[in-house]
Symmetry: C2
Subunit: 198 residues, 2 copies
């Protein structure tokens, strides 16, 4: 099975969006260069620096499935059934939506039995490739449950002051990670990856 | 005048200590190598990696004065009048202590007129060298008031889940920094420095 990696653009004070879910300047690096990266679905192309583009395309090549929370699914309307990185996604939710307009795409899979079941389902769908876990409640629960192999942080040089945290719902207490295996400086972002210590 | 730089060991989720003020594993890097670094005062020597030792001694050579909050002063009992890095320190407080046992060292200077006055006093004492600002309320107030030139983060690969934040009391809204000018990977820490954009 592939590794399970959480990933998010993160402010220096640990936030992944403002309280109203706006990522604000956290996504500036997606338009900080001149290498065009085409997305699946209807998101316009990114324009990345060479450093970020190489990292991003390497990352895309690894990932076979995403795990996201219900909030992100609702905010994006499930990316209209086609996530920008073009892979199926598992939505961890308390209740499966019955009236979602894009159910027929077959790309969204709803799991109600908790984070462990969501990641297991994603690993099945990823078919040997990695599972990417979105920030917020799913990342926090996966970290707390020892289900993450790696934490990827696209560290953005900005202080937000308040907002949604990368790891929500993590009980107080330290989860130790290893020193970064990836450090890639770019423009408006430094790409970092940390292995989780078992 | 020297630059004004905030500095702290910080978890991946933006905390500088547990809620009870214990830094937990955030200070592991001070004992992660075999280069002995002697401290002023009664703190025992650090044992740093070569990379961290070089960064640390460079940092020490820059700094002429510290600004700390009243909480840190109380927790450490004002380092008994002798801060480990051997420079005078300014304490931002609402009330000057009248019974502090180490007042006669002359190293502590109390300022009650707010963060701007505290940094001005520190710059006077630093005599052309840099002013270092501790994490917490003083760092948050200095950042919000546009008084910081740089933010130094000793980024520790650990998730704490809750605790005291590097920048307390920063009003919601983005403070943009520049891309890091320093990125030094070490053991149990990555040393980073970001210029604050004006």
């Amino acid at each position: 099975m592939g590794t399970v990696v959480s990933s998010a653009s993160t402010s220096l004070d640990g936030f992944v969006a403002y309280p109203n879910n706006d990522p604000g300047p956290l996504f500036d690096w997606y338009d900080a260069g001149d290498v065009e990266v085409v997305n699946a679905g209807d998101l316009p192309p990114f324009h990345l620096t060479r450093e970020s583009a190489d990292y991003w395309t390497g990352w895309l090549g690894e990932v076979g499935c995403l795990v996201v929370g219900r909030m992100l699914f609702d905010i994006t309307d499930g990316w209209k059934g086609e996530h920008p990185i073009g892979v199926p996604f598992v939505v961890l939710t308390h209740e499966v939506p019955t009236d979602w307009a894009y159910a027929s795409t077959g790309n969204a899979h709803f799991v109600t039995e908790g984070i462990e079941a969501a990641i297991a389902k994603a690993q099945e769908l990823a078919d040997g490739k990695s599972v990417a876990v979105a920030a917020g409640t799913v990342a926090g629960q996966a970290l707390a449950a020892g289900l993450l192999d790696e934490v990827a942080i696209d560290l953005v040089p900005v202080v937000l002051g308040s907002g949604h945290r990368y790891f929500a719902d993590v009980a107080p207490g330290a989860v130790k990670l290893g020193d970064p295996t990836v450090i890639i400086p770019s423009t408006r972002v430094t790409h970092l990856r940390f292995p989780v210590l078992r």
